[in-house]
């Protein structure tokens, strides 16, 4: 029987810096490790890890395994998995925490199957069972219409954690920890995919994830045009961003990057204005962390009114321009 020790976070870098999800995982991992009286370690793998190792310590890690390799510049499963699998076997952790991000969604199930264990994806809550010391893993299921609690029946206990579900610790630059530069060979002949092209479709203006106000449109908008006019005008007035439910992205009315929900972006602005969105649980999964939800929908029975704090029943063509106009006056006055 292998011995399993400690909590391992599989971290990520964003633009060369420690990604916010990794700070969130370290915050949650720290609590779990303390409760288990175990160490918290963090894997950072990239072409260059640099200062991010120290950041990981400042956010709670005891040990950082820094793996640098040119093949890790851009995430590619067949390269990254060689590193993650080797490290997971060497470290042999009790618990592995991974972000429910683009990279985590792609890598966590692969790693679990390689290690012969299960992974519970998209967890919102994690705790330690006081009696068994096992990880209690809570995640939404049925599109968010219920939640399920899982316990791993094999080791290591692996989970991915939804972005913004956990709070990072206060950054503490004086926290002590150890950076372990780790050399792992990558056999590039085992890489069966090749990235021919990477195309960024970044929206101009404020990023959806950072916007304090999001004006979001659904299938009921009827086409691409109102996203560029009616919704954009309101978003600009409120220094916010335009978002969407899945159908506008699927239909090509807006870029895929604006898609909010279970399979899109998770956002938590101060104000989320849902316009012509029915409020399917798979959509609200992505915006229920908003401080205030405001709904405009022509159907008084639409589920979005169960999520919203304020609402207007009516056609957006009538409601939104009048709302924007009045607001302009109020904000000017």
């Amino acid at each position: 029987m292998a011995e399993y020790k400690g909590v391992l976070v599989c971290g990520e870098l964003a633009d060369g810096k420690l990604a916010s999800i990794t700070a969130e995982l370290l915050g949650c991992g720290r609590k779990l490790a303390d409760e288990l009286k175990e160490n918290l370690s963090c894997l950072l793998a990239s072409d260059k890890v640099g200062e991010a190792s120290k950041e990981a310590i400042a956010f709670g890690a005891d040990k950082v395994y820094a793996v640098e390799h040119p093949a890790l510049k851009e995430y590619q499963a067949d390269s990254y998995m060689q590193v993650a699998e080797k490290l997971a076997r060497d470290v042999s952790p009790l618990v592995i925490l991974i972000g429910q991000t683009s990279m985590g969604r792609d890598s966590a199930p692969r790693l679990a199957f390689r290690l012969g264990t299960s992974v519970t994806t998209d967890c919102l809550n994690l705790s330690i069972d006081p009696a068994t010391k096992l990880l209690v893993q809570t995640r939404p299921v049925y599109g968010g219409n219920a939640q399920a609690v899982f316990i791993s029946e094999s080791m290591p206990q692996m989970v991915t954690v939804r972005t913004k579900a956990m709070s990072p610790l206060e950054r503490n630059a004086s926290r002590k920890g150890e950076v372990i530069p780790t050399k792992i060979d990558i056999d590039t002949s085992k890489v069966r995919t090749k990235v021919l092209e990477t195309v960024k479709e970044e929206a101009v203006g404020i990023k959806l994830e950072d916007a304090p106000v999001i004006v979001s449109g659904g299938r009921g908008m009827g086409g691409p045009q109102p996203f560029q006019t009616i919704l954009k005008e309101l978003a600009d007035l409120l220094h916010g961003a335009v978002g969407a439910s899945r159908p506008p992205a699927d239909n090509g009315w807006v870029s895929e990057g604006l898609h909010i929900g279970l399979t899109g972006k998770i956002v938590a602005p101060d104000i989320y204005i849902a316009i012509a969105i029915s409020g399917a649980s798979q959509h609200t999964a992505g915006c229920s962390g908003s401080k205030h939800i405001i709904a405009i929908n022509k159907d008084p029975e639409a589920n979005i009114f169960r999520e919203a704090q304020f609402g207007v029943v009516g056609k957006y063509e009538d409601v939104v321009p009048a709302f924007t106009n009045k607001l302009k006056g109020l904000l000017a006055g």
Binding site: P109, T121, Y142, A146, Q147, V149, E197, V199, D250, Q282
Partner: protein, 266 residues
């Protein structure tokens, strides 16, 4: 090149049913009879991805589904839209599995099918949303996988995949055979034609039992799980929406602005 494709499809309760009808009773999701089973949304996208390849390159599509008590008309939609064959892993032993036991059974069935260039899966099932089976199948079969595909082309032993990444996409080339995990944006599944429906009515799905794929019942379904479902519950949510009215919709819109200013939200 004619392409041999397998599409993994799951039968699920309609995920678009109104949230209020989803009720957990005794740790089980119970839905009223009016909520009809359907093929999961991302499996429909996966089917469409395969059909698009069949349109251009030609080939064969085998739909593969694991479960028990399939509603024939629901799962045979795969045949009606253009799949050539439907294989059902249908047995009580397949029930209540997790991603681990499901991927193992599907992989065993795919091995038995034998010839394939692409295995298509949806990014996540429309009931449990775990998002693992496609990658699990690839790991077990030892073949590459590309996830979040929204466009796929196949040429001479390779597939070119448009893969969604945050704020954009990549074009990824992968050697075949491979698993391709499909997301939305590929286009809605086409409607079945009358001819397709009639042809499907005449075809019978092939049913495989655990012994047919050479797996012990202890490796399947609930018995083969590597994670235990401890509890299923629904957090109580109080809704308290203040509906702002007016003589006209425009007036209500203006009043909403006033109310939000008053509440100091904007």
């Amino acid at each position: 090149m004619a392409v041999n494709m397998i599409v993994c499809c799951k039968q699920v309760p309609d995920p678009e049913a109104p949230p209020a009808v989803f009720k957990v009773v005794n740790n089980k999701m119970t839905l009223p009879a009016e909520v009809k089973p359907v093929i999961g949304q991302y499996e429909e996208f996966a089917l469409e991805a395969a059909l698009k390849i069949k349109d251009t390159a030609g080939g064969k599509i085998t739909a593969l589904s694991l479960g028990n008590n399939f509603v024939r008309d629901v799962i045979k939609k795969s045949l009606a839209v253009g799949a050539d064959e439907l294989i059902l892993l249908e047995d009580k032993a397949f029930e209540d599995g997790d991603s681990w036991s499901t991927a193992n059974a599907l992989a065993a069935a795919i091995r038995k099918i034998g010839t394939y260039d692409v295995v298509f899966c949806g990014r996540q099932s429309s009931d449990w949303d775990a998002g693992q089976v496609g990658l699990g199948v690839a790991e077990i079969l030892g073949i590459p996988a590309v996830t979040l595909a929204r466009k796929v082309e196949v040429t001479a032993g390779k597939a070119k995949v448009e893969r969604v990444i945050p704020d954009g996409y990549q074009v990824v080339e992968v050697t075949l055979p491979a698993v391709i995990v499909v997301t939305s944006g590929i286009g809605a599944l086409r409607y079945a034609t009358l001819k397709g429906i009639m042809a499907a009515a005449k075809k019978q799905p092939v049913v495989w039992k655990p012994a047919d794929i050479g797996l012990e019942p202890s490796k399947l379904g609930a018995a083969g799980r590597r994670s235990k479902l401890d509890k299923l519950f629904q957090p109580v949510k109080e809704s308290k929406c203040e509906i702002i009215g007016g003589d006209t919709a425009a007036e209500a819109g203006a009043k909403l602005a006033v109310r939000l200013r008053e509440a100091k939200l904007l």
